[in-house]
């Protein structure tokens, strides 16, 4: 194809028609450019849409690109249509998901060990939501299933790739943990932990 501008415009049309994230490889083959160049052009598009503060942006996840709305326009969109209310992930699900994301591939046993409690149901739920999937089997006894995150996981949290996961900063963690201890000296007497507030019934 003649020039970059032309290819980029082709990519835009492709994304528009396809709806689902468009694979760089597919787009490159369709427009007769090599993959590296295609990736660069896609990223140029991402930048251009951002710079021009468009209401539609290009999102990259797992080497694929897709049109999404600009997040700050959500309130306007909501006055016209009501996007399906999403059920937030439970604390347990988030914990298990974090373990899978940072430690993948992991077995159910690994997750249970870190959380100190069985995670079967939680894992089932995450698989059903397509945030994690099976990634073969471990060579350990019983050949347990290994889990990893999916492409949907990346779009769900708006990450380009796993390298974009927030850093588990050891120093910060240590500081947070130590701060329990320091506060103790300042305020030695504290009420015993309350239980009442912790048990609330929620019917849904």
């Amino acid at each position: 194809m003649e020039n970059k501008q032309r290819v980029k415009s082709a990519f835009e049309s492709l994304m528009f028609v396809f709806g689902e994230p468009v694979d760089v490889k597919t787009a490159a083959a369709a427009c007769g450019v090599d993959r590296k160049e295609a990736l660069e052009l896609f990223r140029e598009l991402v930048r251009e849409y951002d710079e021009q503060q468009r209401g539609i942006r290009v999102r990259e996840a797992d080497g694929r690109f897709q049109f999404v709305t600009y997040e700050e326009n959500y309130d306007y969109i909501r006055t016209v249509v009501t996007p399906a209310k999403e059920r937030r992930l439970s604390q347990a699900a988030l914990e298990a998901l974090a373990i899978v994301a940072y430690r993948q591939p992991v077995t159910k046993g690994d997750i249970d060990a870190i959380r100190g409690i069985k995670s079967d149901r939680v894992i089932e739920g995450l698989v059903a939501k397509e945030l994690i999937c099976e990634r073969g089997r471990s060579s350990a006894i019983g050949r347990p299933t290994l889990y990893g995150t999916t492409a949907k996981f990346l779009t769900y949290f708006d990450l380009k790739d796993l390298g974009e996961l927030p850093q588990l900063d050891d120093e910060e963690l240590e500081e947070a943990i130590r701060s329990f201890g320091e506060a103790q000296e300042a305020d030695a007497e504290d009420d015993p932990p309350a239980l009442e507030g912790q048990t609330t019934l929620e019917l849904s």
Binding site: V17, A92, D158, L168, L195
Partner: protein, 241 residues
Amino acid sequence: MAYKVRLNMFEGPFDLLVYLIEKAEMNIYDIEIAVITGQYLAHIRRMEENDVVVGSEFMVLAATLIDIKSRMLLPRVTEGEGPAEDPRTDLTQKLVEYVRFKKAAAALEELRETARFKLEKPQEDLLPFTGEPDVFLKMDMEQFVLAFKMFIHRRKKQDELQRMRAHIERERVSLETKIGAIAKLLKAAKDRIVRFSELLAEKADRYDRVVTFIALLDMARSGELLVEQDGPFAEIQVRNH
């Protein structure tokens, strides 16, 4: 309809323990085991009082805490060089690991808070783009009428078949009904003895036989009747108990 009850409780024993340590403003690397064990056990007791089923995992950690507590009281034996191992080390490591992922979970939740406002369009029907051309039939009126007649004909045949099938399918006797029927038969029978063959309908198929037999076994098990057989393959005698 089912109720889903979600208890806003601790996600697991580590979650509870970390909460207690945080609440007591203790250093996780220097847990006052005696204090925290007491609080942990008290909390579990209160969970039980509130009719919360305390998972076995919570009990395992309770046992671990008590074990550490008792080992803390014993003088530590040094093996070779270096300081003696702190009985808390293993637990501390696990807790730190847990806190790490608890933080990571919070970080993910935060990411989702912005990500969820980015809407995408679901993929539409791509058929118009995949190039299946519309099919046009070339036929004259006669052919068209014939095709319609064929359609009606086939439809009639299908209906007929449907009726036949409905006729053939017999209502199946359930185990419960069979048990009731056998009990009734036994009550009416002379000497209260019935032969197995008498229990079967005249044209009993395999299904009837199996249901009858299972019904007998079930009734024999619950002591409603006695079953006797003189030898292998001989007639089964059923007797009221």
